[in-house]
Structures are given as C-alpha cells and as structure tokens.
Symmetry: C2
C-alpha cells in the first residue's frame, strides 16, 4: 500500500523511550491527528513496545487495554495510520502522532471517534458513517 | 475579556455527565484543540466537576492531579481557553474540547505543549517560546 510510512533510526527510538514517562500501568496516552487537515481522529494508549514499533515501522501501533496486547491499527480493518510525525508533550506524559489515516479511524465507520457533540440541550451526532462497520470487520 | 465563551444549559451538562465514562480515579482525559487552526494544544484531565464547570461557564476547567483540585485554565497565567465545542468519543472515555486559546497553552510559554518531535536521530524542539514563563507566573 502506498503511503507515507517512514521508519526512524534506533537512536530516535531510544531517545523517545528515554524521554516518555509511562504511567503505573506502563502506558502513555496517544492522540492521533490527521497531518494535513488537523482533524483529531482518536485517542488510545501505547506501551514501550507500541512506541518502539510505531517509530521502527512508520505504522502506528497502540496497546489495547481490553485485549492486553499490541494493537496494530488497521490490522483487521485495513484502516491503517502511517506515521508522519511523532511528538511528545512538555510533561513527557502524552504523545501526539500526526498520521495519514487510510479510510476511517473509528470502529463505527466514521472518520473520527469524536462524533458526539454537547450542543444545545443535549448530545448530537455530528459525523456520518462513511464505511459500514460490517465491511470493516467481516465475520 | 472578549472571547467566545458561551454557557450550556443544565440539560446538556446532565447529558454529558451521564454519557462520559470516568476512570477509577473519577477522571477522563481531555484534549484541547484550537478551534480554527486545528492545532492540538494540550492534554489534561477532567473530573465530573470540571466537565460541569466547563460547560456551565464556557471556560475550560481541568482537574489537576498534582494539586488534587480544579484547575481553571488561565487562572494564574491569564491564558484562558474559551469553549467553542465539547465532544465525546465513541467509547465515551475521552473528551475533545475545541477552544479559543488566549495566548499560549503551555506553561513553558509555547503555544502548544507538543513541541518535542522525534525526528532524524533524536528529539527536536520545534516551537519557540512566545511568552516568557516568568511573565506568565510572576513570583
């Protein structure tokens, strides 16, 4: 698949792992943002192995708390995230990955997970389903 | 101060509090994004009171884990965040606030907290200090 995935050298991986403060569970929150549109797509978690794999492969890998395993984004759905830039915040306890998202980030088939807005008297759905979830996760 | 701060009615606050899943500590991660430029400014945490106050006042309020208290963003520094839109993700466990940031979001005096990028062989600082931190937090 043609995308922007580029790999980082081991020295950059070592620097990132040395800089990041992982929480008591060994995790750091990771925000994914589409690199050109600026859309915030999702927030998930990474452990040390996920950070290293993301930088080494140029494809974003999270850690699934529910499955207790590495979660290579798009592995089942094909909706991968190519890493464009990897940033760390001032407290070294949050990561921002700028990505090139193939298709949709959300398991509901929407581009972004943040499709519920608190407006007027309640909560509104502000984004349409772009891909039928049954096609994302065939049974 | 002239900004976009608008308040939300109690029914919207109730709907948001009913929707959000707070973690074992009673917190939810909250990402702040500048509403027009799309820049991701920071990530912090909110408890129920912080969510309610943010929606009620139209000014973003977090919960400081280190101070164990509500953190009205900009209270000491003047660098407030007016709430433009309040969004909840598909799992109801992360919040995205679109804001109008006065000045800078980061305590280092930079616009965004995500100023460290893992590039080439290591970590690079990719944003300049815009306001001297000594002026943000006078002693």
């Amino acid at each position: 698949m043609a995308d922007r995935a580029t790999t980082r050298p081991q020295s950059a991986i070592d620097a990132a792992l040395a800089a990041i403060t992982f929480d008591a569970r060994g995790l750091v929150p990771a925000i994914a943002q589409q690199h050109d549109s600026g859309e915030v797509l999702m927030m998930a978690w990474m452990n040390r192995d996920a950070v290293a794999e993301t930088l080494r492969t140029g494809r974003v890998c999270y850690f699934s708390r529910s499955r207790d395993a590495l979660w290579r984004k798009g592995e089942s759905s094909g909706q991968t995230q190519a890493l464009v830039d990897f940033r760390i915040d001032c407290d070294n306890d949050t990561v921002l990955v700028l990505v090139d998202q193939i298709g949709v980030a959300c398991h509901t088939g929407r581009r972004s997970c943040f499709f519920s807005a608190v407006r007027d008297g309640g909560i509104e759905t502000i984004a349409e389903v772009e891909i039928d979830p049954d096609k994302l996760y065939p049974k």
